[in-house]
Amino acid sequence: MPNSDLFAWLVPIAPLAGCIACVILSFQGDRKFAHVPAILSLVISAVCAIALLAMGAPGSEGVTYVQGYRYLQIGGVTLDISLRLDSLCLTLLAVVTSISAMIAIYSKDYMHGNRGYARYFAVFCGFVFSMTMLVLSHNLLMLYAFWEGVGTCSYLLIGFWFQRPSAAKAATKAFLVNRVADTAFLLGILLLSFAVGQTDVGQGVSWFARLDFQNIFDSAPVIAEKQSALLTCICMLLMIGAIGKSAQFPFHVWLPDAMEGPTPVSALIHAATMVTAGVYLMARLSPMMALTPSVLTTVAWLGGITSLIAAVMALYQDDLKRVLAYSTVSQLGYLFMALGAGAVKDLMTVAVVAAMFHLVTHAFFKALLFLSAGNVMHAMGDVIDMRQFGGLKRVLPKTHLLFGIGAAALAGLPPLSGFFSKDGVLGVIADASHDTMIGKQFMALLAIGFITAFLTAIYTSKAYFKTFHGTEKIPEAAGHHAHEATGIMLAPMAVLAIGAIGVGILLGPTHWILDYITQTPRMEHAEHHEPLWLLVLSALIAAAGCFVGYVLSKREPSTNPVSLAHRIADFGRNRLYIDWLYGVAIVQPLEWCANLLGWFDTNIIAGMTGWVANLPRLIGMVGQRVQTGRIPAYSYLTAAGIAAVAIWIVTRTNW
């Protein structure tokens, strides 16, 4: 394959170079041209990723390893940094790099004039570097390293306006919630390394090489046969890591707060790419996950619950960005539901394809929606509360159109991309419901899927009509210059809009994505029949939902505090009291413990360590007396030292 190695390495290295350039620029104060290296490097990265896709880089065997370099060799442990190319990772890679390039271009004007302009682009490029390396990893531990890398970048970008207490708090929340999940992930990795070491595959292989995906897949059937409980435990732990990053119940609480970051970041990291890392992890490990149906059923239920409750919460949000955030959580729930359908025998590959398909289309239309919300926010003087503005159709005509496309795709109106991919997800769940053993559960999940689809259409159209239609209302903060976004902001959005319209019909009905992803080794045997009634039903549901949403957007919310509708609204607005429950049940007891330990630390430990810390200094001061500065003294001491050692050696040696 000519030059595929070079292209493969350029994909992560270009953003890294851009990151370093921006870091250097940020030291020079806020330079106005920090976007140049960033956009350039991201475009290079995107071009290379698409070139890899186009030239069929995985080759005839479906997977190619691109050698990097041997990072380290300590004893028997060698750490090789190399890349794994197959069709699964290239699919995600192309999406990540192209969307990030678009959003970087958008950010040029959106972030213009912000303090920390260079810092923003530095972390942005750092994120793309980590994400591409995560996707290209050949080894689970390497994946974990970059998993933490994207987490760090996410933390830095959520807290980009760190002077704002709410942003700092949101960043901390995201960090801590992810930490809990990542701990489980790490434990899963360590256990897996141990388990692989028990098998024939892992004999004589160092713990790092054992975590190679190839070795994991080779040994997983053996582990499943001999120690099925252990494998279930491992998969459960890895699954917890995945749902943490992808903000699934019960870890979903961090994502809505993460909207404190700049809007392009919300579009890129918290909608299109990073949060799908969990889905990618599950898809990557699907040959192993397929051996543990119980874990996958759990995944399906968690995904179902998440998608439903997030849709309910989205229904009652007044903040446009939060509506989109909850909708992201809900759509990610869809992806996990689809993955969970792999619990049924021989359905894993179809499930992965359905999830990846929805992931791709979702990345396009959700990024588009966030950027449109960013335009609204930009024009409204950073006001994002839908009660304070309305009827912006005339003020923001182009944004109105773009948001409309994104919203229609999200609602699942045919023939936009969301319709086909959502249908794929529901189709695979419908397939799973034919199973004799656990079909009943998937029947229930299918119902949840339809309800969620209905709710999605409602809140999407409600947000759309409230923002852009009705009587024109512009908040004070916008001043008199509420204006449409600049061309540089709109151009990448147009590209995303084309994706949001066309990707679904291009990849879905033609079976392109199915044929492509099944080229990945161990992902063959995909047979999938989409029933026609499903297509018709979901189209009807989407249309009905949109109509209900339109009606709701016209109605004033009921003011009667005792009415049932008001109570439900209150429930939804307070995020179903899940955050409150966490505060009472987890955070407060931990704080009490922390206060107790803190007292112990300041009053007892600190005093003791203070003494210990001063001890070397005291000894040193005494020892300094010897350093008189006089040569005779030095010579005597030296001679005495030699004499002592000589006597010791000569008397003890038995020569």
Binding site: P616, G623, Q627, I631, T638, I649, T653, N654, W655
Partner: protein, 484 residues
């Protein structure tokens, strides 16, 4: 093979060292013809001599590429032997020489440029000679080739009182140490009856009590070069009394020469039982005492130069442990050399930063002088920060791998004995103590200071020197394979 052929081949392989030696001698001779002084255009003179020295170094590097890979084990009988250790010594010389010449570019004493660079090049030529020596005579010759220019360099400015004191102290104590060294060499010759190092090494296990004493004396003599306790006394006084650049020279070149000589003397071919019962305990004891003394005395310092001197002593302790791992064949063959390379990058980088701060009009003698340096001279402070983090041994810097490899070497799988474990624990304790005083310097750099006058004088050579060191320190963390 006849003697003439041996000499020819040796000369070919030693050509980098010979080039450096000739270049140094020529530069020194230039002082006869070349009037230096305040009346002349000092900048062009500085540039001239620095460029000449750099050219000599480049020629030496090119020669080392073009002479071809030495055929190992072929010249066992001659004065010199070429193996991987000799090559490593040469590369360490090039690395250190490159940075030291850059550091000297604007800091060399204006009135004595030709002598200064002449001495520096001769010192640089000494290390490959020591590294390739296969005979007691050539070993001693190489070491003296290093120390005599050192005396000259330390006392090069005759009007400087503290410099003169440092030079005199160094001279007297060095002579004192050389006595032990020579006494040991003569005993070795007396016991074995040959001056060839391979012959002597073959005789280590023949069980003579006098051999133990001879080895001990030789090791003591070399301890002076590497500033191991109890030969460390001169270090703080000399570092304190001389310029920043010369402190950098003193912290690096003699140390490399001393360790290379120790490796030459002990050999890496594995020791017999009775030889290791002498050498290993001495090295371990010396390492333990050196680490503790260096770190404990450094904690008590407020004087940055003395602190760095003691830190150099402490690193000798770690290096001695690396030497033990190397001699016992527990670690990679490059454990000692990669530590020295990392040490070069971090220590010379540190001195280059301090040199730039001084050249820009700041003061760096006491730790307190650096208060708020980040706001006055950010670039140099970042260099200092990286060097200090590397000296502590934290990840993202070469210092981490260097320390890690020593740890891994000293508690290798086939060494279950409690002494090695104890050494590792002691080293860990020392690393913690060291982190304390390095951190004190580090936090001082970022303290807010009332006097915030930025230092604006820019010295490109010093800037390049510490930029190279900083980049190397970080790159070596990510690509440790090239740290050889």
């Amino acid at each position: 093979m006849d003697t003439l052929q041996v000499i020819k081949n040796s000369a070919a392989h030693l050509s980098p060292a010979i080039a450096l030696l000739i270049g140094g001698s020529l530069l020194m001779c230039a002082s006869i013809f070349f009037r230096t002084g305040v009346k002349r255009d000092i900048h062009s003179q500085r540039n001239l001599f620095a460029v000449l020295s750099m050219t000599t170094l480049v020629v030496a590097v090119l020669l080392s590429f073009y002479r071809g890979t030495p055929q190992l084990d072929k010249y066992d009988v001659g004065l010199f032997r070429f193996d991987s250790g000799a090559l490593a010594a040469e590369r360490l010389t090039f690395l250190g020489g490159f940075i030291l010449i850059l550091m000297s570019w604007s800091t060399a004493p204006a009135s004595r440029l030709s002598e200064y660079y002449g001495c520096l090049l001769v010192m640089l030529s000494a290390i490959p000679i020591v590294g390739a020596s296969n005979d007691l005579v050539s070993l001693f010759l190489g070491l003296e080739l290093l120390s005599i220019p050192t005396y000259v360099m330390l006392g090069i400015v005759k009007t400087d009182n503290t410099g003169a004191e440092a030079a005199l102290k160094y001279f007297m104590l060095s002579a004192f140490a050389s006595c032990f060294f020579l006494l040991g060499l003569s005993y070795l010759f007396g016991v074995v009856g040959s001056t060839n190092l391979l012959v002597i090494q073959g005789d280590y296990d023949n069980g003579k009590r006098l051999m133990a004493l001879a080895l001990l004396l030789v090791m003591c003599g070399l301890s002076f070069r590497i500033t191991a306790v109890p030969f460390h006394f001169y270090a703080p006084d000399v570092f304190d009394g001389t310029t920043v650049t010369l402190a950098g020279v003193m912290s690096y070149l003699p140390k490399v020469a001393g360790f290379v000589a120790l490796v030459r003397l002990i050999g890496t071919g594995g020791l017999g039982e009775s030889a290791s019962s002498v050498i290993i305990p001495v090295l371990l004891t010396c390492a333990a005492i050196t680490m503790c003394v260096g770190n404990l005395l450094a904690t008590a310092q407020n004087n940055l130069r003395r602190l760095l001197a003691y830190s150099s002593v402490a690193h000798t302790g770690y290096l001695l442990l690396a030497l033990v791992a190397l001699v016992r064949q527990d670690a990679d063959a490059n454990v000692l050399y990669s530590y020295l390379a990392a040490y070069a990058a971090m220590t010379l980088g540190m001195f280059a930063c301090l040199g730039e701060i001084e050249a820009a009009g700041g003061n760096s003698h006491l730790i307190g002088d650096l208060t708020g340096m980040f706001y006055r001279r950010p670039a140099a402070t970042i260099g200092l920060t990286v060097s200090l983090i590397s000296l502590i041994g934290l990840p993202l810097t070469a210092g981490f791998w260097a320390k890690f490899m020593v740890f891994a070497g000293i508690v290798a799988e086939n060494r279950p004995d409690s002494r090695s474990l104890f050494m590792a624990v002691l080293m860990a304790f020392n690393a913690v103590i060291a982190a304390g005083y390095y951190w004190r310097v580090l936090s001082t750099l970022f303290e807010k200071n009332a006097a915030k006058t930025p230092l604006r004088v820019f010295r490109p050579s010093l800037f390049f020197a510490y930029t190279i060191c900083t980049v190397l320190t970080i790159v070596w963390f990510f690509v440790p394979a090239i740290m050889r």
